[in-house]
Symmetry: C2
């Protein structure tokens, strides 16, 4: 056996061999067959509930995948940052909701510039954001559509009472550069009855102002189990479901076979008999645990534990493994939180079966503003 | 007062106003006066201990700052990934140590390509890495200098015994495409006596092989307090000291005035009286806590706590604050772990005093292979 053949056996598998020769490790690999299935499943869940599908692109940040979601029936997309929206607008997507207060982008002038190019849907939970959006609309000479962000238990952003929501709606109604678009919710998984009560009360107050919300938006992949439970909802925003991860498996909304993205990583050290080191650490996976034990699930060695991370080292505890990986072996890891892991890569290697089919740019990565 | 003047008052301060107008928020800002002081301090600590200074560029990933470190007297630099070394070599830096086993880059052919361009110093703790480096040296037609990575308590990568180190040195000695460069340590802060014992034993074994280590390298900013305590050490690798952060303050090796990098972030929501939301979450700061309480120190509101993070939201607990920030106010935050936070940005805004002086590319960001 030649040295090269011996090395190929260490690497184990033709796809792993191809990945490391073309891209090295660590490498983020997406299975497009699983992606397509996940996109279709999300669309059919929304269809069945009579809801428009507005997937959140924060998970993949890829125009290619956003266009695939649109082609499958999505009405538009959700972004979390103006910089993401700029990338997606440049890729030809025209119905974009930015699902957070964006003061930094507004004050830098970039919001007005994009609004001039394509009419955006923004959200706000306070009058300062509304004033910034109004100025952007005026600069762009095109009114901005605004959804009011409402909090029904998550204690993140969002007004906490129907009265505040209605007060903001009145400001929007009375501002020539703003248009009232509706209400945005991100209900806790068990917070849908509270969301219904909030919505019903708010709707009455809006009616007194002569306003009807065109959009009632809900969000979250774990909330896919709740679709149809909010009377009046018009659309849903799910992000993670395109790839899934350990957190989604833990939440009971995905199986292992639904996890479309794995990180290929090399075992680079086996300095102790029961331990090893991966060439991927917190600058690859991030330190998000998502409340789970360990930092990822290793497909080839399910009993191995990634128990700690340095910036470029993953610490393996192999004590529970009957067979243990050798130095040089490539392992496929399902990350705990795929959205933040994707955000560490400039590109995703797309495969179908055992073949590399494409390289996708994570074009909206690092768009922090 | 005009609306713009009122807004400027909300933002508070001319530099904040300039930052948000040019760059938006969140924005990573480095004070070059503090950076210069930190660079000079590291150099003088190494000089005083009779050690060469080989700063680790993982913290800043900026050729501009690496060149500044070289100009201040550094003998060369340390990288953690081949991709980082490629960027630094392209910027004209010729003495580069890559401080980890790099199998992915070796097998992709990129190691050989860079080795052909500039002679690298690599490290290894196992024969598989050595075989990969040898092949790269042969392909490049230039032997690779290898340091043996030795573990003296951290249980990361690195051989655990002097015997293993000597065995690897023999492989290097007997391979025409490898050259023995020395030993690399990353001692735990209290592990310097153990490191001395390891070094002394290994040195004897090396002498029996006819080998003398040219480089005995130690690392770590917290270990700056230990410089001079390893008899035979020739150089030190410190990364974080160029910027410092909350972890370094906690470790007792930096004061607040030594923290050169802050993240400017906007308060975008105040939906509850004792809470607020920043426009910077785990995709800006990462989830690294470094064992500290909260995710950053807010200079303007030291009693505010960033108690949780979503991807693009920082959750503020303001209950301990007598005065509380308004929506739209910009806050300067010292991150817990600056190395991973910098890695989320494509650029750093450099200031001197209250003026923006430069925009530095984080050129080696995202170089995972």
């Amino acid at each position: 056996m030649t040295e090269e053949a011996a090395e190929a056996m260490t690497i184990k598998g033709a796809l792993k061999q191809a990945i490391i020769e073309q891209f090295g490790t660590p490498c983020a690999v997406v299975d497009l067959d699983v992606v397509d299935r996940n996109i279709a499943k999300l669309q059919s869940l929304c269809d069945a509930a009579g809801l428009a599908n507005r997937p959140h692109i924060k998970t993949h940040k890829s125009p290619f995948l956003a266009q695939r979601q649109m082609a499958a029936g999505a009405i538009g997309i959700t972004c979390q940052k103006l910089g993401e929206a700029e990338i997606m607008a440049a890729a030809g997507i025209t119905d974009i909701l930015i699902a957070t207060n964006i003061l930094g982008a507004a004050r830098s002038g970039r919001l007005a510039a994009l609004q001039r190019q394509t009419p955006l849907k923004l959200c706000a939970d306070n009058p300062v954001s509304l004033a910034a959006y109004s100025r952007a609309g005026q600069t762009a000479d095109r009114p901005v559509t605004v959804l009011i962000e409402c909090d029904t238990g998550r204690k993140r952003a969002g007004v906490e009472t129907a009265g505040e929501a209605v007060a903001l709606a009145k400001i929007i109604r009375d501002d020539p550069w703003l248009e009232f678009g509706g209400l945005m919710f991100y209900p806790p998984r068990d917070g849908w009855p509270a969301t219904q009560a909030f919505l019903d009360t708010t709707r009455q107050g809006l009616a007194d102002l002569g306003l009807t919300p065109q959009i009632i938006s809900t969000g979250g992949t774990p909330n896919l189990v709740n679709l149809g439970q909010l009377d009046g909802a018009t659309e849903h925003r799910a992000g993670t479901s395109i790839f899934n991860d350990r957190m989604m498996m833990q939440a009971g909304v995905a199986e292992m076979a639904d996890c479309a993205l794995t990180i290929f990583t090399s075992v680079v050290s086996r300095a102790g008999p029961a331990r090893g080191i991966l060439d991927a650490g917190s600058k690859t996976f991030t330190s998000d645990t998502g409340g789970l034990e360990g930092f990822g699930h290793i497909l080839e060695y399910p009993n191995a534990r990634i128990h700690d991370m340095a910036e470029e080292h993953g610490f393996l505890d192999l004590s529970a493994c009957e067979t243990r990986p050798d130095v040089g072996e490539i392992l496929k890891v399902i990350p705990n939180h795929v959205c933040v892991a994707v955000n560490m890569f400039d590109q995703l290697v797309a495969v179908r079966g055992d073949s590399i089919s494409d390289v996708l740019s994570v074009a909206a990565r690092g768009k922090l503003v």
